[in-house]
Symmetry: C2
Subunit: 510 residues, 2 copies
């Protein structure tokens, strides 16, 4: 791979490399083929298809590693002048293609800006540079007796900046909120190189909330460089519950009633019949005989899934499966015990079969495992992806059914409900499919997404709860934001007239 | 007053009146002197000074009463074309001059748009037009078994639209959040007449949060016409606690520790020694003999306050007064009882003297009374106002002391802490003073504000927790927003190039 040249060389303008070296130092600028290939993709499943097929579709011209905000300011002034795209990059764990350099240009890697700057144990805030990997931030907080309470699936490979840029949610969002609920203030470099810092204050009534203008902007309006977030004392107690429900709709109603009472579980997860089946299979730690047999059966089913997803979906729907509902509570012992008691009672009244804490603990202990199996799927010639939408309770069950039935003809699909709130909940679909060849796979992949998001939008849901938009959902942004898309476009235009910051994303260029 | 003409007539361009009549119908357009005088002010104390002195400083040219969003859209298209200012107006309860038509133009009164459009008892949301008076909205929700949980002092005379435009806080903000935490989506008419509607979704990851771009914009970026907000079931239980602390700092520490534990009181209020004294005096319902004597003493003190505020402040500071801390909890019985028990225990451990529920109940029952005494103050020749700032816990006590000592030479000043959050709290100062004459009063008023906000900003606080900015705090916006002020100005410029929407406010024109 390294012996022959795969990519065209970076822009022939040697002035760019020289200018970047002046800003960052030569050790922190690269135009090597290896780096350009590495940064040509993120964790969007479509890029895994390309990778499998040996295709390097969007290599950047340069990669720079920033060490401080001034370097970024200088970079943006330079890029603005030369009209060169700049794409902020954290862990590359985004699953919507949000960091692909589709118009070439400079990848701005922020992982060297990874310092925890201060922990205010009185005001319960932490201030950190955004390049820090999430797990390290959480671990350092834990060592000092605190938690951010933000545990996304990607925590080992995603950065604080990525979380903020794409409105990330952690597994405990029911208690702690999403990242946009945790952030109090940020430092942002605007596309023209100016640096702004919003104020750290509990609440304010001084105009629009400009922190929330940049949170979720996925690098299109500015580069987030530093943030101050709420933290909580490390929980005194962590408690788990598990219940089995005869029907999905009943499980959903139960969650709704619990939250309505004012109970705040840290995490709530309700698996649909198929996902319940898979959860029960894959969570076992010991390799029992029964387990081995089940696993073999599962392998057979998987083969069938790839060949005839529609048939498997139909078969699965005939099995009147039960649905697993698990809870995790954490916080002050006295409060948590009361809330768990209230919650458990509602589950029993609603007809849930009490499974004790076992299923919840299993989820907690194995919750990061699944991601490591994805590459096997792709290697096998198939593809898999997840779609995380959300809706208010009045629309939720219908939304689930509509998306599922839209995708069913083309992929094996299952779902769980997590990230529950008083007003609604997220639905997390996982799908698995396979095309005959490279072209058909890519086409099928796009079709499934198109169908799923159309069905979601039609059912009144939001097309993303926490994965963001990037390229994957860009076509749906007009429909999602409606008239606000005009405001977004105008803001982009006035802040970044040359469209250098992460161009081609979020549907802004349409 | 009506027999002679006080104001210059509205703009001589009869075309304006005619065009407005075509949009709104003649019955909903006025250029009468009476209406123009009425709408020349809001509840900013400075306008009370003007009123007392018979001065009509900022009469609008026209007043229109909108009945639907299409009328507003047409109005803004017309006004944009003719470059006539339009000032959205709700209850006129704003205390920062935010609705004064300082450049003339058209007052757009929204109070005829007062319908509750839907209540979703599954998703716990209410959708209403913004002209509805807050108390009616709450009452209608109560009748159906729900509460918005938003009880600002102004609830009887402020509208939903005003709350949203100025980031209002209710007395139960510790549990329910401020209005920006309750709102899920809004309909907004942009300055060019286009109508946008954000999506009602529990949470989303689809770009910046444009609802939060218009919340708090005080009519400068668009006219908010409709909103969907979270509601809660009407509380099963309401419980009160009261404790007396020997020192203010100790009371503050106690609040901080309680919130840190995860307890969510609906309301927390800590009065400084002077405010504790006044609270105890004014809350009594029965007119006992002791009370009458105290009242006489108070009247004498008041005379002294007006003459020598600095001396009274000094005397007051010598009296080592105790500080009253009260709590209100509401919600599910089982959860509330636990949280109250945890909270009460912390208060006792921290050295608070348990007063039972009496003081809390008194506050709850008399909490809307004080506002009705303000006109007496102005009639007596003095003036009074309140300053509500906020800061994180690490800065809070210093912030309180700095603001107090900055204002002390010029006014009698006291404060309480309310709207407490895990990361900080608001400080609500009340001041009372008097100038020798009209000019000196106005000068003194401005000076006190200038000193208070400078001290607040220097101590790291935010210059407004929930009253907004308007004109009163406009000069401090650059300091408050820093680099984000540039974003605000650019957004204003691109959305409202002719600067017709509420011009001259929020420091945007500087």
């Amino acid at each position: 791979m390294f012996s022959r040249q795969i990519l065209k060389p970076s822009s022939k303008d040697e002035g760019v490399y020289k200018a970047l070296s002046e800003i960052f130092g030569e050790e922190d600028v690269s135009k090597s083929e290896l780096d350009r290939i590495s940064y040509s993709r993120d964790s969007w499943s479509k890029t895994s298809l390309w990778l499998r097929d040996g295709e390097i579709r969007y290599p950047p011209d340069y990669i720079v590693w920033a060490k401080d905000v001034q370097q970024i300011s200088r970079l943006l002034r330079f890029a603005q002048e030369k009209k060169i795209p700049v794409i902020p990059f954290g862990g590359g764990s985004g699953v919507c293609g949000g960091t692909l350099p589709i118009k070439g240009g400079i990848i701005l890697d922020l992982k060297k800006m990874d310092k925890i700057l201060s922990l205010d144990d009185k005001s319960l805030t932490v201030t950190a540079e955004v390049g820090i990997i999430g797990e390290r931030l959480e671990r350092e907080l834990n060592r000092k007796g605190y938690t951010l309470g933000h545990h996304p699936q990607s925590i080992y490979c995603s950065t604080l900046g990525g979380w903020l840029a794409a409105r990330s949610a952690g597994q405990l969002s029911t208690k702690y909120g999403k990242i946009e609920d945790m952030v109090l203030s940020m430092q942002v470099v605007l596309p023209d190189g100016d640096i702004l810092e919003t104020k750290t204050t509990p609440k304010s009534a001084t105009g629009p909330d400009f922190t929330q203008t940049f949170v979720g902007s996925e690098g299109t309006l500015g580069v987030i460089t530093k943030a101050t977030l709420r933290v909580s004392p490390y929980p005194e107690l962590r408690a788990f519950s598990g219940f089995m429900f005869g029907e999905l709709a009943l499980g959903l109603e139960t969650i709704r009633k619990i939250l309505r009472r004012g109970v705040r579980p840290a995490s709530v997860r309700l698996y649909d019949p198929l996902d319940t089946f898979v959860f029960k299979l894959t969570g076992e730690k010991k390799e029992s005989k029964g387990r081995r047999i089940l696993k073999m059966a599962k392998d057979k089913v998987e083969d069938l899934i790839f060949l005839k997803p529609q048939m498997v979906n139909k078969l699965a729907s005939l099995v009147k499966g039960r649905c697993l509902l698990i809870f995790m509570f954490e916080g002050d012992r006295e409060i948590i015990e009361t809330e768990k008691r209230v919650s458990d009672n509602i589950c029993r009244v609603e007809g849930g079969e009490d499974l004790g804490e076992k299923m919840g603990i299993r989820w907690w202990e194995t919750r990061f495992d699944v991601a490591y199996n994805l590459s096997k799927v792709f290697k096998s010639g198939a593809f898999a992806d997840t779609i995380e939408v959300a809706g208010t309770w009045d629309k939720l069950f219908n939304l689930y059914e509509e998306v599922k039935s839209a995708v069913s003809p083309y992929a094996f699909i299952m779902a769980h409900f997590s990230h529950a709130y008083k007003e609604g909940c997220s639905v997390y679909f996982s799908f698995l499919s396979r095309g005959k060849d490279k072209e058909e796979s890519e086409e099928l992949f796009s079709k499934i997404w198109e169908l799923a998001l159309s069905a979601c939008a039609k059912a009144g849901g939001t097309i993303s709860h926490h994965h963001g938009v990037g390229i994957a959902k860009a076509n749906f942004m007009e429909g999602e934001l409606g008239g606000a898309m005009k405001v977004y476009k105008r803001l982009k235009q006035v802040l970044d007239p040359n469209n250098i910051l992460n161009p081609g994303k979020m549907g802004l260029d349409k």
